[in-house]
Amino acid sequence: MRIVVQEAPFDLGAETSRFAEGHKDQGAIVTFTGLVREDGGMARMEIEHYPGMTERAITKIAEEAVTRWSLGDTLVIHRFGPMQPGEAIMMVATAAPHRKDAFEAAEFLMDYLKSRAPFWKKEIGPDGSDWVAAKDEDEDALDRW
């Protein structure tokens, strides 16, 4: 299990290749990458986080995934700070003997990272800035697990 919280951009290809190496007993790798989407003329995004709690919360979520699914490995990288549209905000990767576990665990990680990891997104546009509001559907998404 590898959890990374950093300000710097990450290399999606390099991270995925590195994660995929040396897993002879795993038949499936699923990766998900979240990008900054250019919504309504947004110029940039800024992500604030809670140093210390962020790493603890993500570790707890990843450990829960390991107990629920048969996983060979998990990776979560999540950035904070300023970023431009098109940049990668975060990625998760899961390795499992079979694809069903890898897909489900990746979705579980994403659902929980959305509303249980202490990050807050702010969108900055030509007319000012706004904190992104959490959606009810993101909270509801946790019920299925």
């Binding site: 202490p118 807050w120 509001a133 959490a134």
Partner: protein, 81 residues
Amino acid sequence: MDILYFAWVRERIGLPKEKVETGARNVTELVEELKAREPRYAAAFEDISALRVALDQELSDFDASLEGVREVAFFPPMTGG
């Protein structure tokens, strides 16, 4: 105890962190103490259903006890991912 504020809670109160001496037994009592201080606190804590609280970096509830707690954080619902 240390109190931390994040996102728009931090902006409304105007600082990210402060040390507070309090006799509050639970989070709700602490919130009432803070609200009584100044209008900027009252504005930030106007609707606590829009807020979340963490005690020593674990997500918690407003009726939770503060006994032994060293760090309290207030913030809006999280928007990670």
